[in-house]
């Protein structure tokens, strides 16, 4: 363990706090890499990042179940609220209230069935997840279903990858041992990624017809 992290832990800073903080530059770098090199869009940088942290707080299983439930209920409520012909913000507020109600019922059910793991899920995780629904619903209003689903899946995939990396004990030890190197490395990688003008992986498949056509055209 590095001298700095050792000192902080000895002084009472929780080890988990340090690990989570050091994971942040790793997560952002993964998300940037996925966007610039691979072409996985996701929802900007914030959403996949925060979902990864929620998964770390709630555990992957419950996190995913919660995510899917909240999203489905949110979509359903949006379609119902649409008929009320209300302004955007009140409408969204109603959707969020509906989700809160659903989660309360869910917790009630969990308590009744004595599902200890379910009722112990982190409150912050649930709250943030509920608030995130606004982003997904705003997207649903703007774009067609197929694109929205792809974006959500991409975001989930990114979050899960981040979750796996962060819950990998070997990697956790690595970050504790070399905290400064991790931050410096992430900085350098991001500067390089920011200057990258090459094609993204997804673009090779997108432009495949054109690529096939470049070769014969040059033979002429």
């Amino acid at each position: 363990m590095s001298f700095i992290t050792q000192y902080m832990i000895n002084q009472g800073v929780p080890q988990e706090t340090i690990i989570l903080l050091l994971m942040l530059p790793i997560f952002t770098t993964i998300i940037v890499f996925a966007r610039q090199i691979i072409g996985i869009k996701g929802f900007g940088i914030y959403t996949p990042l925060i979902i990864a942290f929620i998964f770390l707080a709630t555990g992957l299983k419950y996190g995913l179940v919660l995510f899917v439930i909240i999203l489905l209920i949110g979509t359903l409520l949006r379609l119902l609220a649409k008929r009320l012909r209300l302004l955007y913000l009140p409408r969204m507020s109603i959707v969020l209230i509906g989700i809160t109600l659903t989660i309360l019922i869910l917790l009630l059910g969990g308590a009744y069935l004595e599902q200890k793991n379910l009722i112990a899920v982190s409150a912050f995780g649930i709250l943030i997840m509920v608030v995130l629904v606004e982003k997904f619903i705003a997207l649903q209003i703007k774009q067609e279903a197929k694109k929205t689903i792809i974006l959500i899946l991409e975001t989930l995939a990114l979050s899960i990858i981040c979750y796996w990396i962060a819950s990998w004990p070997w990697f956790q030890n690595l970050t504790l041992a070399y905290p400064l190197w991790i931050i410096l490395g992430a900085l350098i990688v991001n500067i390089l990624l920011g200057k990258w003008t090459g094609l993204r992986f997804s673009e090779y498949s997108r432009f495949w017809e054109v690529i096939k056509n470049i070769e014969p055209a040059e033979k002429k």
Binding site: E144, W196, T197, L199, R200, R206, F207, V210, I211, I214
Partner: protein, 442 residues
């Protein structure tokens, strides 16, 4: 082979990364992006400079204005748009109005709508639901384009528009987009519209794609999408260059529609044009952008001419492939073989009115190919004349032609050699090609 094409693709294709970093950011100032992102501002600047845009009937900026809006001022057909909408989102097209109570309007999909439907759509616009920044937006009513008869069979309940990417005052690549049933009458490719590449030189369509795949016919019909001539093509290109110069958007995607009465009209400007235009044209974009980079284009006509000369010719290639013949113009560079089979280049005039090729006697002597092998009578404007014939070999557009040709004194003429139709059997002559090519004497 595989890695080779990957490497080539990387240097020639334009991806999103390069578009943003290499072209969009350095070429488009904040002001330029502001103009492109606001339809109303763009229209104001364009029409101030005498460029054709669509008439705005009225704008609605606040909920108060919506409440006070005089609905009787609306004509029976119009489009309703958000000022900062992205990718065709939030556009409502109204085709007509029923004459019976409650006087509903009719949308593209034949659905009836009433004032309260339009009001709720405008509310959504004002809240910024369709806005690229999600900030409050402005709604406006605009005149609806009247579909050109020519495009009617191809377009499903909507207006096809021409997207042209222009860089540094030179139109670089063009595509025409047709709305389909799948795209719900919108000409957006990501919704399932058809994109058809357009030859820059002539304005004739080339390859067609739908959902990123190549197609030949308009869906559900046997109408070929290839070979449609876009009317007023030169005027369209001129509009593009002019609009780029007045808005100073250095890397510009411009949408133009052709109205039945008004002709070409600028619909929209875009500072981050989509890249699927490369698929419709089966041509990488970065290649072309690099060739235009740094050129100093002074006049509008110059920009148009550069575009047509540099990026035209796809139609010719297609024609050459089908007919197996080369397309040549009236003035063509030619290489004449001398006695030792060395090539000498000069300019030739292609003359389908003459049967036999004629070469200047002075040039023939210089190349030492003036051994007369016979005489033939020719009937010319000056009456009957007997001219000597020699053996001649020349290369025209990379094809070797060996023939017998007349020799005559052509020292007073513009060209040393005219090529007659006897030697043009393997070529197609396009009088519009190479018109500006300079002649040079040997």
């Amino acid at each position: 082979m595989f890695f080779n094409s990957i490497r080539k693709a990387n240097s020639a294709l334009l991806g999103i990364n390069a578009r943003n970093l290499t072209y969009k950011r350095p070429s488009n100032s904040r002001r330029a992006i502001q103009i492109a992102d606001s339809k109303l501002l763009a229209k104001k600047i364009l029409s101030k400079n005498g460029l054709p845009t669509l008439q705005t009937y009225s704008t609605i900026k606040t909920i108060q204005e919506l409440r006070d809006f005089d609905w009787t001022s609306l004509p029976s057909t119009f489009t309703l748009k958000p000022n900062k909408g992205l990718g065709g989102e939030g556009i409502m097209i109204v085709y007509g109005r029923k004459k019976k109570f409650p006087y509903p309007w009719i949308k593209a999909d034949h659905k009836h709508i009433q004032i309260k439907d339009i009001q709720s759509h405008i509310l959504n616009i004002l809240e910024g639901t369709f806005s690229s920044t999600s900030l409050p937006d402005i709604a406006f009513f605009e005149e609806r384009i009247k579909l050109l008869k020519l495009f009617k069979p191809y377009a499903y309940r909507g207006i096809p528009d021409i997207r042209i990417i222009s860089y540094n005052s030179v139109p670089v690549m063009a595509e025409i987009r047709f709305p389909t049933k799948e795209s719900g009458g919108k000409a957006n490719l990501h919704l399932g519209g058809i994109g058809v590449g357009v030859d820059m030189g002539t304005g004739v369509t080339t390859n067609a794609i739908q959902n990123d795949r190549i197609i030949e016919h308009a869906p559900g019909t046997r109408l070929p999408l290839r070979g449609i001539q876009i009317p007023d093509w030169k005027e369209v290109l001129r509009l593009v260059v002019h609009a780029q110069q007045v808005t100073k958007i250095g890397f510009l995607g411009i949408d133009i529609a052709i109205d039945r009465e008004k002709g070409p009209v600028i619909l929209e400007l875009n500072a981050r044009p989509g890249l699927s235009i490369q698929i419709a044209n089966l041509t990488p974009l970065d290649d072309r952008l690099q060739r235009v980079k740094g050129l100093k284009v002074k006049t509008i006509n110059q920009g148009v001419k550069i575009a047509q000369n540099l990026f035209g010719g796809e139609i010719e290639e297609g024609l050459e492939e089908i007919s197996g013949r080369k397309v040549i113009g009236i003035n063509e560079p030619i290489e004449i073989l001398d006695k030792e089979k060395n090539h000498h280049s000069t300019m030739a005039k292609v003359d389908t009115g003459a049967y036999r090729t004629t070469i200047c006697s002075v040039l023939a002597k210089k190349l030492n190919i003036n051994q007369v092998i016979g005489q033939k009578k020719v009937r010319g404007a000056l009456g009957l004349e007997e001219r000597p014939i020699i053996n001649l070999a020349f290369v025209l557009d990379k094809r070797l032609v060996t023939t017998e040709a007349f020799i005559a004194d052509r020292t007073e003429m513009k060209y040393d050699i005219i090529v007659g139709r006897k030697d043009l059997k393997r070529f197609l002559v396009d009088p519009a090609k190479n018109v500006f090519m300079r002649r040079k004497k040997l």
